[in-house]
């Protein structure tokens, strides 16, 4: 395959967007998967590929505040979009409340689903800061985990809703 990262590779396009608060121009083939472009061009390798067909949620990112599977987004569709990946969740060395809760309460094990789980949880909490457990289950229904059995993930998110408990 020709080097799609070269701005003048034949058939490629330049897509302007914001990624984790920074202006970026992504050079790639129009139907390259956003997942691949973000990982390979911007080295945002926190985004994982699980199934590659929209089933598992490991490649979750936010586009304009909405949770999406980046394996199902052609890069041509993110022109002008505001994208947030797991790398944009904690902006300093300090982990976000949700990330810390996943560590404290065993929500993370092998780590492949974790970036997607955390992003789905953060996305939920930004719309609903005190979700019930059924609401958490519904919001994370598109994120699959083979390790935890989910209970510790749900618990982590419930705990994250109460910041004082997370810090104790």
């Amino acid at each position: 395959m020709p080097d799609a990262r070269s701005p003048d590779a034949p058939g490629t396009i330049a897509v302007r967007c914001r990624v984790n608060g920074r202006d970026e121009t992504l050079h790639d083939y129009p139907m390259a998967r956003l997942l691949d472009t973000l990982r390979e061009k911007l080295h945002l390798t926190g985004i994982k590929e699980g199934c590659g067909e929209g089933e598992c949620g490991a490649c979750s990112v936010e586009i304009d505040g909405k949770l999406v599977n980046s394996c199902l987004i052609p890069v041509a569709q993110v022109e002008g979009a505001e994208i947030r990946t797991i790398e944009g969740v904690a902006t300093t060395e300090q982990l976000s409340v949700v990330q810390q809760a996943f560590i404290s309460y065993g929500g993370a094990q092998c780590g492949i689903c974790t970036p997607g789980m955390v992003l789905a949880a953060v996305n939920l909490l930004e719309q609903n800061n005190h979700p019930t457990e059924p609401e958490i289950r519904a919001a994370l229904a598109g994120n699959l985990c083979r390790c935890t059995g989910y209970m510790k993930i749900f618990e982590s998110i419930l705990r994250a809703c109460d910041r004082t408990e997370v810090q104790s």
């Binding site: 395959m1 020709p2 799609a4 058939g11 083939y29 129009p30 139907m31 390259a32 998967r33 590659g52 067909e53 929209g54 089933e55 949620g57 979750s60 909405k66 949770l67 999406v68 599977n69 394996c71 199902l72 987004i73 052609p74 041509a76 569709q77 022109e79 789905a120 996305n123 519904a138 919001a139 994370l140 229904a141 598109g142 994120n143 699959l144």
Partner: protein, 288 residues
């Protein structure tokens, strides 16, 4: 094997008019590409045969849910999330909201569109049965103009539909003001979220006393397209739903569906479940 990405072209028209012009100039060459939740799965699997796509995702003219006194008009790019969050739809067309909530998970619901669910023409699509029982109509757009057709009858066979190569699904209309109808929707899949249907059943019925005055039955995953069970509807209309009538309705319905074996289920299982869903629909609505 994965597809070779440089083989695929996608162009992004700036307006609906520009999109329709491209479709008219090269009919059949450029195919519309909306949220990508079906097409990108095929791309990844190396099964996306068509190579040229028109990115319609950003066309504002195809978005928005608008209410008039006699109908609700939904842009073809209305996502499942848009449907779920609309209070008017929740009140008047609850089965459509239910179908949207049971399609995929949050990420799929944020990208998948009603127009895509219709034009992708999967026999296992979840919103078409709900749209059919609400007597939805479609507005099909082309540079020649627009035409409005009943959704019932749009799907003619496996991936066959009444949509010309230069046409786009523009809007979906739901007539308002139906009163006295009782409705039923049930999707049967392997898992509550994310799973594609084994069988998906939607029904609506209006009684005059104990007699079925009017009825709609639509079902997915039991035929080459999502279908209306017109013979079963005709049989049940005018009848009182006692045990004998329901048993007879099951027999009419059994002849009307033609489920197959595939990766998600077997013909036998689908057949049994579809008949049981018909019975559940008829008995529960008759008892309400």
């Amino acid at each position: 094997m994965r597809s070779f990405i440089p083989d695929y072209e996608m162009q992004t028209p700036r307006s609906l008019g520009a999109a329709l012009d491209i479709l008219a100039r090269d009919p059949g060459i450029w195919r519309p590409f909306a949220g990508g939740t079906d097409l990108m799965v095929l791309l990844e699997a190396g099964k996306l045969a068509h190579r040229h796509y028109l990115n319609i995702w950003n066309l504002a003219e195809l978005r928005g849910i608008e209410s008039a006194s006699w109908l609700i008009s939904l842009g073809a790019l209305t996502t499942y999330t848009d449907v779920r969050r609309n209070a008017t739809l929740a009140r008047e067309f609850p089965l459509l909201c239910r179908a949207a909530a049971e399609t995929g998970g949050v990420a799929t619901q944020n990208r998948g569109t009603l127009g895509g669910n219709i034009a992708n023409a999967s026999p296992a699509a979840d919103t078409p049965p709900a749209l059919l029982i609400y007597d939805a109509e479609l507005e099909l757009l082309s540079s020649r103009g627009s035409r409005r057709i009943p959704y019932r009858g749009f799907h003619g066979g496996y991936k066959k539909m009444d949509l010309r190569p230069d046409e786009l699904v523009g809007r979906i209309f739901l007539p308002r003001g139906r009163t006295g109808w009782k409705s039923y929707y049930r999707k049967v899949g392997t898992r509550r979220a994310q799973a594609i249907s084994k069988v998906c059943f939607a029904g609506a019925v209006r009684f005059d006393g104990k007699i079925v005055d009017d009825i709609r039955i639509a079902i997915g995953s039991v035929a080459p397209a999502v279908v209306c069970a017109t013979q079963t509807e005709a049989y049940v209309r005018g009848k009182s739903l006692d045990a004998a009538a329901i048993a007879a309705a099951r027999q009419v319905f059994a002849k009307e569906i033609a489920p197959i074996d595939d990766i998600r289920s077997t013909a036998h299982y689908r057949h049994v479940v579809a008949l049981n869903l018909l019975e559940e629909f008829l008995t529960t609505t008759a008892a309400q």
